[in-house]
């Protein structure tokens, strides 16, 4: 079991999806129950990872599995090569953790074609888990693209009124980016083969050792970075996000925010940054600038939204700006802050989308002006919403504080100081738009008669929110549980990037000479 833990965890949802197809269409309770059971079982299978102390001591890959997959002589070779380290560990856990919550949240919300909906969610889970554990670029690409298909249908079939536009836009945006990355992947592979360095299929571990000349790194970073930047999304490539989020059904938005956006940031940490460290240094000021623009722009736009779901969507753009800024600090605090902020964003924004979903299920509208004074009518909801609001703002004691504080501190200590100065205004802006929307929805008198007999959260809805609240405080109060297992891997990553740059700096003059001679 432990030998194949990752594969079992990854493919269980896929097997579940196939089994689900044999359940009769009209047996809705069984369809939902089965999908929930599969996702819970997946979570249980993944639990040993979270409790494994090996991540505290070693930053390398664990739970490795390696099988030969496509071997075509000297043409190309791909392997089934998977593993987790401290970086992907918590993202994998976030995925398996958020999935049952997402499925539970759709209990009453989705009315049409439940079978297809559940099948798509399970397929999506396989895609996400596979992408996080892949150590072979080709395998990663397959899982990466696999996520597109279910998300496209989730938005397009079960989405809101403008769903077709949003679904097609989402699909084309993400696919264009990843297709360029494919060219980059193939190029790296043949570069490795032709330069005579040892390769093991498209394995990244071997690619990390490559010494790619700067001008190739430049283009490769552009190809990879563009693809990941669309997914993050970094301003100005973010325009698909508000559309997709607004139109997607609640479960789709939750997964999109909690996990899919992390694919982009994870892609930077795992692939774009360590593979092309020299080019990274060229692009950092540019990307950091865009991140800061994203933070401020996202916050300002969020402030002016009248649709609460759109507000949350734009706040995502801002939050991920902090993640990126922390990662680009390239020091321990910044990277750790960025990593933990990925998890935080998954929890807080996921929770916010659930909250929006609760409101929408009750009133079938998301216009902020339609609400007001709900705190009196829905006390439990008001409490939960407030906690999540604080977490999203980053109030000390909640998870958001730890992540944003570390990310900004890291940025201050690196040469991104001035970017950090401007980014910090984002924290204030977040307080403005979050507290303002909370005030407009929850406080005051009930002005809209439709809100008079609105019901408080049901037991199911409270059960959905409780685990999220638990982690809001856990990460907020004792984040070391998470950092302990993350740090060795991050240290290794930072060392590796610094070493590569040091080596390359010696080599660089010769590369430059060669180019000049040409």
């Amino acid at each position: 079991m432990a030998d194949n833990l990752l594969s079992i965890m990854t493919f269980l949802p896929l097997v579940g999806m196939v089994a689900l197809l044999f359940i009769p269409r009209d047996n809705e309770a069984m369809l939902k129950g089965f999908a929930l059971a599969v996702s819970l079982l997946t979570f249980l299978i993944s639990l040993p990872l979270a409790f494994d102390n090996v991540f505290k001591t070693s930053g390398g890959m664990h739970y490795r599995e390696f099988y030969e997959w496509i071997h075509v002589g000297e043409f190309f070779q791909m392997n089934y090569n998977v593993g987790v380290d401290g970086i992907s560990l918590w993202l994998v856990m976030l995925t398996t953790f958020i999935m049952p919550i997402a499925i539970l949240s759709t209990w009453n919300a989705v009315k049409k074609n439940i079978k297809g909906f559940m099948a798509m969610l399970l397929l999506l889970q396989t895609g996400m888990l596979g992408a996080f554990i892949s150590l072979d670029l080709f395998l990663f690409y397959i899982f990466w693209e696999l996520m597109l298909i279910p998300m496209y249908f989730l938005i397009g079939i079960w989405g809101g009124s403008n769903r077709i536009y949003a679904a097609v836009k989402f699909f084309i945006y993400t696919a264009v980016g990843s297709l360029l990355m494919l060219v980059g992947i193939i190029f790296v592979y043949y570069y490795a083969v032709q330069s005579g360095s040892p390769v093991s299929g498209f394995g990244v571990a071997e690619f990390y050792q490559l010494d790619i000349p700067y001008n190739a790194q430049f283009w490769l970073f552009l190809a990879f970075g563009f693809s990941f930047a669309i997914k993050v999304p970094i301003f100005p490539l973010h325009t698909w996000l508000p559309d997709a989020h607004t139109e997607a059904p609640t479960a789709g938005s939750v997964i999109l925010a909690a996990v899919l956006l992390k694919m982009g940031t994870y892609g930077y940490v795992r692939f774009a940054m360590p593979l092309f460290p020299e080019a990274l240094h060229t692009f950092i000021p540019f990307l950091a600038f865009l991140s800061v623009v994203g933070i401020i722009y996202g916050s300002l736009v969020a402030m002016m939204q009248e649709d609460v779901k759109k507000l949350v969507a734009y706040s995502s753009v801002a939050h991920l700006g902090f993640v990126m800024l922390g990662l680009f600090a390239l020091n321990m605090q910044g990277m750790a802050g960025g990593m933990i902020q990925m998890i935080n964003h998954g929890i807080s924004t996921g929770a916010l989308f659930l909250i929006v979903g609760f409101l929408y299920e009750r009133r079938h509208t998301r216009q902020i002006s339609e609400f007001g004074g709900l705190a009196v009518k829905m006390p439990v909801f008001a409490t939960i919403f407030l906690i999540i609001t604080f977490s999203s703002i980053g109030l000390p004691g909640t998870n958001g504080f730890v992540g944003e504080f570390l990310a900004l501190m890291g940025a201050f200590e690196s040469n991104l100081r001035w970017f950090a100065v401007f980014a910090t205004t984002g924290v204030i802006l977040a307080a403005v738009y979050m507290l303002w929307v909370y005030q407009r929805i929850m406080f005051g008198k009930v002005t809209n008669p439709a809100n008079e007999d609105i019901k408080d959260l049901s037991a199911r809805e409270i059960v959905i929110m409780l685990p999220l609240l638990l982690f809001v405080f856990w990460i907020g109060i004792y984040p070391n549980t998470f950092f302990d297992k993350m740090n060795p891997a991050l240290e290794q990553l930072i060392d590796q990037m610094n070493n590569q740059v040091a080596v390359v700096e010696v080599v660089q003059p010769t590369v430059a000479n060669v180019l000049e001679n040409k």
Binding site: W69, I70, H71, F75, I149, Y152, V176, L182, I186, Y190
Partner: protein
């Protein structure tokens, strides 16, 4: 003269033409069977044709790794020929599977239809195994003449007549180019055997600057470009594809196209190797043009058959990227891609057969609105083919494109690969649009006329299995494609 005849007789090696011989004999016998069958009853002819295809396929597979030379070196049944022969056999088999019920629906059950497909396949096999320009030409003619008839098969339907006639006129015209080119090459080198021409060019490198040689090579290639519908030689494709009976459209887009690619590859890589520098540019430009024009025009199509016709032009463009690479990976990539393309494109056409009404009405985007809900399995299968045509993993469309682009990038044509993937991005839109209509729009009709014909359904199942198998574990067949290179 007598010596030549004697030599030819001694050099006959029936083994080298055995698969196509089986098909030819079976085709002629089945013509007779069809004549003596009661009117309107063709199902036995169809199954007998499939049986002969299976036999031919087995014979072809048994000859793997066992190159046979025949007819004084004008036929060479090597792995390359065997691989492409299998593609043609597969395409013909799928075509016949999806034909019988379709012919009955269109009220034109005529037995001659199947032997004609067998002759086309035999012609395609001569093309892929021909190592003499004359053999290739003969194969091309047998293939084309049968296809002219098949394209205009429903003689009482106007658009079908238009299709057949248009294909015939333009096809005959392009054959003229081909033959003229061959004649010029013969004039320069004094032989029609392509390996001898290759040797001649190697011995006299100056000949590549000879205007007659260059003109001959280019004219000959023009003939092949016409067959694979490369832009700007594609003008016939949309009308012919749209007008022809749907199974024949499916067949034309896979089998004969693969055969034309095979002949093109053999002729370029053997005879015209000396012109590599120039031809790479020609292929480069044509590949980009073909991909781009095919995809851009497909964007605005509302008729599904016509949309797939333009998409098949674009796919020929992707395959040509493998030719530009001019290395082993690219060449094997083209072979693998043609195999993949056979599965995914014929599968998509088979679905069009099922959802079309009599007289081929209703094959528009609006016509498939909500189809995914009324016919869930058909919808899923169609989606799989569309995702494959887009080139998304985990379908064969992705592995096929990967193989080809890997060849191009390995040879340093990075910008061509970038243009190729950008073209894929453009194509996403029109393939997605079909899915938008199938799933995101509410059903307008109840699709009560859709009957799942068993044989057609079988062809769809085979195609789905092929698309998924080649998408998830393509290693074995990629290896075969590698071995088939020369």
């Amino acid at each position: 003269m007598e010596n030549l005849v004697q030599e030819a007789i001694q050099n006959v090696n029936l083994q080298a033409v055995m698969p196509s011989l089986i098909l030819t004999v079976a085709g002629m016998a089945l013509l007779l069977v069809a004549v003596f069958s009661p009117r309107g009853k063709t199902i036995h002819v169809a199954w007998l044709s499939i049986a002969s295809l299976v036999v031919a396929g087995i014979v072809t597979i048994m000859g793997w790794n066992d190159t046979q030379f025949g007819f004084a070196g004008s036929v060479q049944l090597d792995n390359f020929a065997a691989f492409f022969s299998m593609i043609c056999i597969l395409a013909a088999g799928l075509t016949i599977l999806m034909s019988d019920e379709y012919l009955k629906r269109e009220n034109f059950p005529v037995g001659e239809y199947y032997p004609l497909i067998l002759f086309t396949t035999a012609g395609a096999m001569w093309m892929v195994s021909g190592t003499d320009l004359i053999t290739i030409f003969l194969g091309l003619e047998v293939l084309s003449v049968s296809l002219y008839v098949l394209a205009g098969f429903f003689r009482d339907q106007e658009r079908c007549n238009e299709s057949g006639l248009k294909y015939f006129f333009l096809g005959a015209f392009s054959t003229g180019f081909l033959l003229y080119g061959m004649a010029l090459l013969y004039g320069v080198s004094g032989t029609t055997k392509i390996y001898d021409i290759g040797a001649y060019v190697q011995a006299n490198p100056d000949v590549t600057m000879n205007i007659m040689f260059i003109a001959g090579g280019l004219l000959m290639l023009t003939g092949f470009f016409f067959k694979i519908a490369a832009v700007p030689f594609h003008m016939w494709t949309p009308d012919v594809y749209q007008g022809a009976p749907t199974p024949i459209t499916a067949f034309m887009s896979a089998g004969p196209k693969a055969a034309a690619f095979a002949a093109l590859i053999r002729v370029t890589f053997v005879c015209l190797e000396g012109m590599q520098d120039h031809l790479t540019t020609v292929f480069w430009v044509l590949a980009v043009l073909t991909m781009t024009v095919g995809n851009l025009i497909a964007l605005s199509q509302k008729d599904l058959k016509r949309m797939l016709a333009y998409s098949s032009i674009a796919h020929a463009g992707y395959a040509m990227v493998g030719l530009v690479a001019w290395n082993e990976i690219g060449m094997s990539g083209v072979m693998f891609y043609m195999l993949v393309y056979t599965f995914m494109n014929m599968g998509a056409f088979a679905i069009l057969i099922l959802i079309g009404r009599r007289g081929e009405e209703n094959l528009t985007l609006e016509g498939v609105s909500g189809l995914g809900y009324k016919q869930p399995l058909l919808g899923i299968a169609f989606c799989i083919f569309l995702f494959a045509l887009m080139g998304l993993p985990p379908t064969a469309g992705f592995t096929g494109k990967f193989y080809i682009f890997a060849g191009a990038i390995n040879a340093g044509f990075i910008w061509l690969a970038v243009l190729g993937v950008l073209n894929s991005a453009v194509s996403l839109y029109y393939y997605l649009r079909i899915m938008v209509h199938m799933y995101f729009k509410d059903p307008q009709e109840d699709f009560s006329w859709v009957k799942i014909y068993p044989a057609t359904a079988l062809s769809i199942v085979i195609a789905v299995a092929g698309v998924l198998y080649l998408g998830v574990v393509p290693g074995a067949l990629m290896q075969f494609a590698k071995m088939a290179g020369f």
